[in-house]
Assembly symmetry: C2
Homo-oligomer: 357 residues x 2
DNA sequence: CGAATTTGATAAACCGCTTCATCAAACGAC
DNA sequence: GTCGTTTGATGAAGCGGTTTATCAAATTCG
């Protein structure tokens, strides 16, 4: 049916060995092919429309040039999470660039975790894990079958390769921005406790206030969550404490949580940013849709995907020089929800004029 | 390194033929294995932890049990489109259920279309195309290499397999809902002209008004788009025409467009739904976030993915009884942006009491 | 010019699995 | 008891590539 290496050899009047060597014109091979035969082979291949069969190649070489991508429990992510999209986009970019392919798996909650892990077959050389649960059976399977993997994660895991973003600095940046704008009473709506990103962000937030000589008021640091309803509820509670104790700024757990905060603030007749400034986290596309558009900490999501793919490929190709747990830098995307662009911070960083003193 | 069929055969004291037959205990094979040897083989396999090598299997059988999934130009979809997520989720469900695997491709705009098509390698048995551009080189490649494909599409393509949703009825449903609520002056913000979903939806809209004896006012049917900015702009123009000519309801191109409409209405001091009712399209997760939550036409996106996978697999397995161009039904998700649940329509359909006469 | 080396080419083994062709033994029917 | 049929089992030939070992011819060199 399909045209094989033998057909090409026959037409070119050579051996299949020569064809194989000529077509993978990598210098690594010990086989030598003269320029003349090489060209006859090229011609024959072109004439027949020969395409190498990657399956046969894989069987012979033991390499497949395929990576696996394990997405988290689909159901939870289906609708609401642009995160996966963006990570995939970054991964894809690198994978295509390096001439690899991607096999998709999801840890569907419908089937047992074991089953999901079983599905990772030997066609893949390595695995990319997006936000794997800590106890995932995948880790064991990978170790057992000796499949290298890299996780894209909210926390570093000891002894395993992963890509992380700099949550601590993210917390600092949000806080610094607000401090620069003159805020003294800043609230922080923390993300859910079981997601470990929440801790370093909160630490960054606290450290920044201290550095600025602002006393951290514990009653302004509240447990909230990544949902807008939670953000709204928490904010309502903050606002009910009376004017004296109300914050002048809120650092929310993420963009959706910030949306909830904004709604609560408005519902109580106050204005964002005039009465209360709001900062989000993640910089998803949603951040441009809030009213006013949200100032938010930008996570380099695509870059994280790209980096993960790069690390995995490097590892597969025997490059040991790569950092197994890189921390990618975050940045602050300034929009209108704080009413201002940056003002000088206590450490003397230069900046634009302050808006609120 | 890995344990092979030969190792199992040796341990069980049989031939590799027997092992192969026993382990694929499909009745299709002509090879017969006694119960006794079968069990010895099972034991040996379990003891060695044998896992079949799918690559070798593929090479021998010519089947890979892998489908390709081609996503549209990544850049445009990265952030804002939950559509791909949902389609993927549906596809994944079916693919896992049928014990297939999924290889991911994207028609990245960075590389030429030809390159993208080249990347579809012979490891896949069939291809699922999400919203392929009409002129895509993929179609040719697939035909040439004889790879069956199914598209998930906004329009049926003659002579090719595709899954569509019933846009015409979607347009009707939106209009009927508004007519039932007593609206006479209903505007329609049409989607962009180059996306062919826009036409049937508009037809459904028009036909419904006519059926209800409401004159279709051409100046209320305007070209808009799938972006919230476009929705806002179009709506502002509608509102500037003065009270007499203002619509009492708007059927938007999609949920984001509806968001724009809502903003424009609010900005001009009017209320949704009291002054103007708004209906969206798609029922993405975003529809719950608008204020008020959006009444919108629900597209069965996941089901479309599932159906596409089912069709492709059926086709691969020689099932000819399947409809090559199914049209999936839409429904109306009623929330608060029209202020009411359904009222009787002119055709006599029964319903709940009307809110506006 | 003869020996050593390089160059060009190939046959054959192999990757791990399926499957066809073949065959001996057991079984049933007459 | 003989003959046809079923049952159980196997060797060997692929599938389409890569790679090792081998070899003849051409080239280099003292």
């Amino acid at each position: 049916m399909a045209v094989t290496i033998r057909d090409v050899a026959k037409l070119a009047g050579t051996s299949i060995t020569a064809v194989s060597a000529a077509l993978n014109n990598s210098s690594g091979s010990t086989i030598r092919v003269s320029q003349a035969t090489r060209e006859r082979i090229y011609d024959a291949a072109a004439q027949l429309g020969y395409v190498s069969n990657p399956i046969a190649k894989s069987l012979a070489t033991g390499k497949t040039k395929v990576l696996g991508l394990m997405l988290p429990y689909a159901d939870a992510f289906v609708d609401q999470n642009p995160f996966c999209n963006q990570v995939m986009s970054g991964i894809m970019r690198e994978v295509v660039h390096r001439h690899y392919n991607l096999m998709l798996y999801t840890a569907t909650s419908g089937i047992q975790k074991d089953r999901a892990a079983m599905l990772v077959d030997s066609r893949i050389e390595g695995l990319l894990l997006v936000m794997p649960p800590e106890d995932s059976a995948i880790f064991l399977k990978c170790k057992k079958r000796n499949i290298p993997y890299v996780s894209i994660l909210d926390r570093p895991i000891a002894g395993s390769w992963s890509v992380n973003s700099d949550d601590y600095t993210g917390g600092r940046m949000a806080a610094e921005h607000l401090v620069r704008l003159g805020h003294k009473r800043i609230a922080h709506l923390m993300g859910s406790q079981d997601v470990s990103t929440s801790q370093p962000r909160a630490r960054g937030f606290r450290d920044t206030l201290e550095l600025a000589g602002i006393e951290v008021q514990e009653e302004l640091i509240v447990q909230s969550g990544f949902d807008w309803r939670l953000g709204m509820d928490s904010t309502q509670q903050l606002l009910q404490r009376g004017l004296k104790h109300m914050p002048t700024a809120i650092f929310a757990a993420n963009d959706l949580c910030a949306e909830g905060a904004i709604r609560a603030i408005r519902a109580s007749g106050l204005s964002v940013p005039d009465d209360i400034a709001v900062v989000g986290y993640d910089d998803t596309w949603y951040a441009t849709l809030t009213q006013p558009p949200l100032t938010t900490v930008h996570m380099p999501i695509e870059e994280m995907g790209e980096m993960a793919a790069r690390m995995l490929i490097a590892r597969l190709e025997g490059d040991d020089s790569i950092d197994p747990q890189p921390v990618l830098p975050v940045s602050l995307t300034v929009r209108n929800s704080c009413g201002a662009f940056s003002a000088p911070f206590v450490d003397g960083t230069k900046s634009s004029p302050a808006v609120r003193q």
